[in-house]
Symmetry: C2
Subunit: 361 residues, 2 copies
Amino acid sequence: MTPLKNDTFLRALLRQPVDYTPIWMMRQAGRYLPEYRATRSRAGCFMDLCQNPELACEVTLQPLDRFPLDAAILFSDILTVPDAMGLGLYFTEGEGPHFERPVRTRDDIRRLGVPDMVADLGYVMKAVALIRRELGGRVPLIGFSGSPWTLATYMVEGGGSKTFARSKAMMFDQPALMHELLALVAAAVTQYLNAQVASGAQALMIFDTWGGSLTPRDYREFSLAYMARILAGLTREAEGLRVPVILFTKGGGQWLEAMAETGCDALGLDWTTDLGDARRRVGGQVALQGNMDPCLLYASPERIQAEVATILASYGPGTGHVFNLGHGIPPDVAPEHAEALVTAVQELSRPYHATTYPGGG
Amino acid sequence: MTPLKNDTFLRALLRQPVDYTPIWMMRQAGRYLPEYRATRSRAGCFMDLCQNPELACEVTLQPLDRFPLDAAILFSDILTVPDAMGLGLYFTEGEGPHFERPVRTRDDIRRLGVPDMVADLGYVMKAVALIRRELGGRVPLIGFSGSPWTLATYMVEGGGSKTFARSKAMMFDQPALMHELLALVAAAVTQYLNAQVASGAQALMIFDTWGGSLTPRDYREFSLAYMARILAGLTREAEGLRVPVILFTKGGGQWLEAMAETGCDALGLDWTTDLGDARRRVGGQVALQGNMDPCLLYASPERIQAEVATILASYGPGTGHVFNLGHGIPPDVAPEHAEALVTAVQELSRPYHATTYPGGG
């Protein structure tokens, strides 16, 4: 493998000195880019795009050709794993993902098995390997998965949900059954992420999009415990380098201490937590990734720059921060605004990493 | 006015001794009750129901005739105020509220004025007075309003929103304009809540449904500051009794200390915050209202009872807690499950208020 030309992202995750604060954007390969929309329309449906390694590679690299981002992230969907378990994933325009065969009963769960990483999910591994080759060492490649709780909500609801009525009813009334499902999904996700590392992923992120819908007690028992189990089973070194793992629970700002104790390398933060407060709470244990409100990208480049300055000042001097949005980039953002963000972070962050930082630290 | 037969709710909000933990449920007059659906179908559209004092009174009292609740809450909608400002509120089935004339420009805002509480919102005041009379002192009546930030999001978006793209763009790029709008809405809400107290409301609640979508900095500047301004302008005594005010920011668990400093009497909590932690943080300053996950009502009565026991134990002995859900009761909950909740709270909470509480306190 070509050696990495830019390892700023990996170094920041491991809290090693860097020259500037690295940045990537959740959903950076996406609908806000005209070149993505062009590839997407060539691909057919959304899943055709995910399942075609060449096209998945193409869209993964598109934002890197536009902006000097410090990491690439595999273009895929969190629901590839339940799909490979036989649930029959399909997307409807404007309504999001659905499963033909949702999981509602003990029998439904007992019929499920851990999918085969080659036969069922080989298309993901091929995409990872291809992207890695095409990157040629420009920046590291991030692999990812949904968290067991997040995947289980889609599997039980049969799609997206506002209230999680069915999945929470199962959790409350049949906790043993929900634990059985979560254990199975956690085993599948562990294999899935390890297979991504074996195929070339250099960092991993677990997206717990819906953990924040739980009480603190339920979060620990039904979401965090399974992410900790995955972390315990992950390959943490490849090609002689540490493979850092980022844990992101949207709405999890109240639980950072518990999240930091799972053994992850970094926590993703949404914008409802002050980054400086988060650093004071867990910055001694983990790196932090985030946390600009994605809606700032609707504002003027000047306003974006001002927000970047505020967030950088809130974190303060030193390493351990990867700049990102607090959630995915919205599809109707102007690419020029994303560019303004990337430029601002890389320019304004340098003083915070200078050995002679005027503010001390 | 008839003296109150049950003042447990008011006493708990003022952190005075009570015999048991009082309970009411957000959206307790609602679609989960067949008698509500019957009245609703007689009324015509949803706004017809809100604007008809007799029918609004009827549905307000329905849950009290079923369950031994400790408070009634005015049946109305948070969008009555912007509607009275001339925005033209209407509801579409399944899609929620819309405004015919959203507020997008400086001219749009300058055209707005504080509505007249008699000419424009007299129907709300008539409903309050009628409900108060029909209650005959059974339990206190809660009046309410949306928070300025929450109302402003609907006014600028022209309806509900997932991302608040337009309202946040205004906030980021034209903060002075957003402040102008928020100041106007805060003035209107202050008059609106005072008029409700003058008509008979005995406690007030401010619903900041969308404050949790903001960064900590933006929350303080664009949501909390205007709720504090309202609190400073409210009549806090009526008929010789304190009129307690409850502040509820959904998703505001990280900001309880700042919220408690506004001068409110109680904070509403959603289920993502541990009630015992919240009490340790701000229980010396304010009462707490909440915080069961509404989805528990999909679970069995036994499971509901177990959750009630956990929440009561988390708060611990002594006054200062009003039991509630962390958000409105879902429309597809079985009324028997709501009854199980009310019964469990009133039965299981008595030991926590006994002068000889075995656990001390």
